[in-house]
Amino acid sequence: MSDEKAHGSGAVEPGDTSKRVGAEVIRERGVDPEELREKLIDAIGAEFTTYYYYTNLRMHLAGEEDYKEITEDARLEDRAHFELVVPRVYELEGSLPNDIRDFADRASCPDAEVPTPMDDGGNFDTSDLEVEDILEVLLEAERCAIRTWSEICDMTRGADPRTYDMAQRILNEEIDHEAWFIELLSKERDDEINPAGHFARGEPGDAPYSTNNRFNDSA
């Protein structure tokens, strides 16, 4: 770099690696990058716990192969959402909690547990477990995710296009998921036709919005 023509860096001195312009430009636009980063950790905590809990929910949809596959789609896409945003947390100078219990405890959405008690042997008591009960848990989990990512879209709109882009991609898929589970629950519980308006993904976990540019191949 020429001494006569130093790079313009705003509040960050040339060569200073203790700050990130990628974070400071967000602050300059009125959003606290630390607050945003913590909210992102909460949000991907929910994506991660949902990925875990959907594994159990999917397995208990015994004999309902179409429901299982749709739940698998949502499960893998929620994992993709976690993968998509993890690098953003680090870009904003954060990190994942070292203890996974902390990560789960701070997740912004409730645990999506199988809606049945455990029996005396520590196993799921499935004697009264209904498919519609599982579908309702899935639906409410998706609704929480919609609210969370809408909030992050609100926080970042006009101030942080990188996070906004991720959040709106994820929001698109969460809204798909809600529509799927409304359709299934309506049919299963109420015997009503309430179309999602969608057809199947190409493959489970396609995540057509959150991975369609493949800018994060770990997703």
């Binding site: 913590e38 909460d42 909690p97 219990r101 902390d102 990560f103 405890d105 701070r106 912004s108 959405c109 409730p110 409410e140 609704r143 929480c144 609210r147 969370t148 909030e151």
Partner: protein
């Protein structure tokens, strides 16, 4: 017992002047049915209160109960000590009397939860 859906309570929402909310320093008076949440009633009335999960879990909406009474029949994570300390979660709180709330108490509530070893404060403030 089935509650009458038409029964309503007067709910006063106080937004502290120090709040980062757009409505800082304002007070709103709402009529809220017993079967609706205070958050939903506020937003329906054009009063934008903070909230995230809306399932009584994340605590983003935390408020302090100044007067009155609320119930949290559907909150996913609300503890006896929260109630005893006067913290409420408007996203799931339904009025059971004329009530006054101070909203925008998320930070204080996180600290309270952390002090009592409860999430999410216990997991967020130690990191």
């Amino acid at each position: 017992m089935t509650q009458s859906a038409s029964e309503t309570w007067s709910v006063r929402i106080v937004v502290p002047e120090t709040s980062s909310l757009d409505a800082a320093g304002e007070t709103f008076d709402l009529e809220v049915r017993e079967d609706e949440t205070i958050l939903a009633a506020a937003r329906s009335a054009g009063v934008w209160l903070p909230a995230d999960c809306q399932q009584g879990w994340c605590t983003t909406c935390a408020a302090r109960l100044v007067d009155g009474d609320v119930a949290h029949p559907n909150a996913r994570r609300y503890y006896d000590e929260d109630r005893e300390a006067g913290f409420v979660l408007p996203c799931t709180a339904k009025p059971r009397a004329d009530t006054t709330l101070i909203v925008g108490q998320y930070d204080d509530f996180l600290e309270f939860r952390a002090d009592h070893g409860r999430p999410p404060g216990s997991s967020k403030l130690d990191t």
